[in-house]
């Protein structure tokens, strides 16, 4: 099953934005992500609605962070994407008439629910500020290259 990489992608974008000031155009970000500007706008749209980022049109426009990175968790970002399905598996039929299938669903739902809850919980424990700090550590003493690390 093809895996949804929007969360991974949007976090990548946000952290790059956290390393440098100034607005970033969708095109700049797209080059860094090796994708298309429209894809960037698409995954950023939800974050804009929740006020995590702002966008401005025209000359000197682009994207800017608009939140306290210490107050936004990965779970918040996930929610901003529209809370897509977390698990690749699901029940064949949600409300089956067959009692046997009801038993199967009950058992699987329990396991599925626990796993989803744990994942959401873990995502809720990590803030963008924590991730950004981790980034700076990894970048270490070398000059902050920001988006230029991608060849952009």
């Amino acid at each position: 099953m093809r895996r949804d990489s929007r969360l991974s992608g949007v976090l990548h974008v946000l952290l790059h934005m956290a390393q440098q000031p100034g607005p970033f155009t969708s095109e700049t970000l797209a080059k860094a992500m090796d994708t298309n500007p429209v894809v960037i706008r698409r995954i950023m749209a939800g974050l804009r609605e929740l006020g995590y980022v702002r966008s401005e049109k025209g000359h000197g426009g682009g994207w800017r962070l608009a939140c306290d990175l210490a107050k936004v968790t990965l779970r918040d970002v996930y929610a901003a994407l529209g809370s897509p399905a977390l698990l690749a598996m699901g029940n064949r039929t949600e409300s089956p008439g067959c009692l046997v299938e009801q038993a199967v669903n009950a058992a699987l739902d329990q396991a599925f629910h626990d796993a989803e809850a744990l994942l959401l919980s873990r995502l809720g424990e990590v803030t963008l500020a924590m991730l950004s700090e981790d980034c700076r550590k990894r970048l270490g003493s070398r000059k902050h290259q920001g988006l230029r690390a991608h060849g952009a």
Copy 2:
């Protein structure tokens, strides 16, 4: 994202088989599952290789359980399907050169891994025998109708 329902489906089949003796043809099972015989054979193939079920061709042929239901867990069944991806999300790039993306991956991988481990653990706690017992309870005092509950 379309969710993989093979585990749900194959469990449904196995539990129906546990309710009644006798071989079941792929066609009978397919009718109960409202699907195609080939789909049944496909999801059963892995279980046959691991010895959980046996199949016989020709007259009087079909599928039979061939294991101790108390010793096979949902995790075993999942493995028999080829251990398909559990999570609908994943990292954009597995081995990124970008340090920022490495930080993102590290954080997400941790959460993903924990959730997967919990799910597998939960699946490992439930045996087919336990599920089958739950089925019998749900069927209660009414006559065991088995596959006929599906109109088959």
